[in-house]
């Protein structure tokens, strides 16, 4: 298929394709981070993860409408405010959900799956009733649109760069929180031995609640960022859920490094196959490969071998 193109053209395309792979990687990672915290650290299956993302997207849309209508001067920076608000709103909803629902179900992971599925249905209908069944369009500030021309052919998408930067920052923040902060220590302590952690004075309920809240908050940020590249509608959250879970599970739930590696592997595989094959087939092959590997390595790519 490449016979008719010059070497220069091919090189440029491969550079851009590599960049496309990186964007996909960032997107996958951003989707999966919140879930990796919730599922990996707490063992909770949050089927409403996509709906928390969409909540962030709706918050962003509301900000966009508000700033364009009332504070046009601040439009160039509204996106940052929107992301912070998205984090807070989704996080707050997460904390409430944990308090009302999840905390009673820690011993029954499969049941949390069903309960959060119910939650996702309720949230979808809520969005439909409040924001209407149609998709809403988020108007981005001018500087986030378009691309930077590097050569004649190679162009780097600004929103792609933005997503990559955001993903990097959030990943580092999560890593620092998990492995350097007191809170992270407490979370890991609770994960490993709930009773003991309680006994040494850790408020396990509070740790659970905020862990869940932070996971949901990150989902909100992801949703906010995805308004740049995807759609915002009541059912848009469902588009992400299978991919997200596969990334987390494939990475071997418990480790951040695993999630990163898995997002990287899946995104590269998909992006490369999409280039050489048709979109549909690429998707099927990627999913099949992930499922196949999970069957061979049920604990995911990265997991510590321990005495059971």
């Amino acid at each position: 298929m490449f016979g008719e193109y010059s070497l220069g053209e091919l090189t440029s395309i491969f550079v851009m394709q590599g960049f496309a792979g990186l964007i996909l990687f960032s997107v996958f990672l951003l989707m999966a981070l919140g879930l990796a915290i919730i599922f990996g650290q707490m063992g909770v299956i949050n089927m409403a993860h996509g709906e928390f993302m969409i909540l962030g997207a709706y918050v962003t849309w509301m900000c966009s409408t508000f700033f364009h209508g009332y504070l046009p001067a601040l439009v160039p920076i509204y996106f940052f405010i929107a992301m912070i608000l998205a984090f807070l709103v989704s996080g707050a909803l997460g904390v409430a959900v944990e308090w009302l629902m999840i905390r009673r179900l820690y011993k029954r992971p499969l049941d949390t799956l069903l309960a959060t599925w119910g939650l996702s249905l309720i949230l979808q209908q809520f969005y439909r009733s409040v924001f209407g069944p149609r998709e809403v369009g988020v108007e981005l500030p001018q500087w986030m649109l378009g691309s930077l021309p590097v050569t004649d052919v190679i162009e780097i998408q600004i929103n792609g760069l933005f997503v990559m930067a955001l993903t990097t920052i959030i990943t580092i923040a999560v890593a620092v929180m998990m492995y350097r902060s007191r809170w992270g220590m407490q979370v890991r302590a609770v994960v490993q031995n709930r009773v003991m952690a309680g006994a040494v004075g850790i408020n396990t309920e509070k740790v659970d609640r905020y862990t869940f809240g932070i996971g949901c908050g990150i989902a909100g940020i992801a949703g906010s960022a995805f308004t740049m590249i995807g759609s915002t509608g009541p059912t848009a959250g469902q588009l992400y859920i299978v991919d997200t879970f596969l990334v987390v599970v494939f990475g071997g739930a418990a480790s951040l490094a695993g999630t990163i590696a898995s997002a990287f592997t899946i995104s590269q595989a998909q992006s490369i196959m999409e280039f050489f094959l048709s979109g549909s087939i690429a998707k099927v092959l990627t999913l099949l490969a992930v499922v196949g590997i999970l069957m061979l390595r049920p604990q995911g790519l990265f997991v510590l071998k321990v005495r059971r």
């Binding site: 510590l304 071998k305 321990v306 005495r307 059971r308």
Partner: protein, 253 residues
Amino acid sequence: MIIPPNDPQKQFVLAVEALTVSFDGFKAVNDVSFYVDENEIRVIIGPNGAGKTTVLDLICGRTRATSGSIKFRDMDLTKMSESNIVLAGVGRKFQNPSIYDDLTVFENLEISFPRGRSVFGALTFRRDAEVRRRVEEIAETIFLADHLDERAEFLSHGQKQWLEIGMLLIQDPDLMMLDEPVAGMSVSERKKTAELLHKIIKNRSVIVIEHDMKFVEDIAHRVTVLHQGKVLSEGSMDRVKHDPRVIEVYLGH
């Protein structure tokens, strides 16, 4: 300090040789060898984290060895599935009582009865006179004859331990492995358990992990002391008790 087989031709029930398992570089069991005779009661002692339970896990196939061999009669257990190891005649009781809470005592024992253990065997399994007789006989032995209809969930801790022993017993294994059978029991329950063990160890080899030294002394033919994944000492209780290294790491404090 490992006692090598005096006679290389001698047939042991269990021969563990150079057994090693490492978890991400950490050697939980390191080059362990020991041999169990017919009808021998072997007790494994050692401080927490010495690798005692891991050794049992390795024998019954729950954990796979990194290297080394485990021979049960003529079979190499390291290559067999858990269920085949059981079918070969190795039974194992877990540290925490591992019974089926939702089933009655009768059903608990019945499930362990060595018949109809394939899928279609289980579908066509009949609760005939022989099953009933065996179950009732075992229940009598483990002091639960009056509790056959009770859901296992409602048994006391000690009774649960006995039930699990009963579940092993009904399989009639050649090699029985008990992980802390008296842990968490009251004094009177302990006594009864000792009595029970004495009754059931006839005609089979037994490996016991135990912390209670009085109890160990009471039943052990030979004792193996593990420390940090290695065999520290082996021999009669008397001899082990006086081994200075053992005193230092274990009995001393």
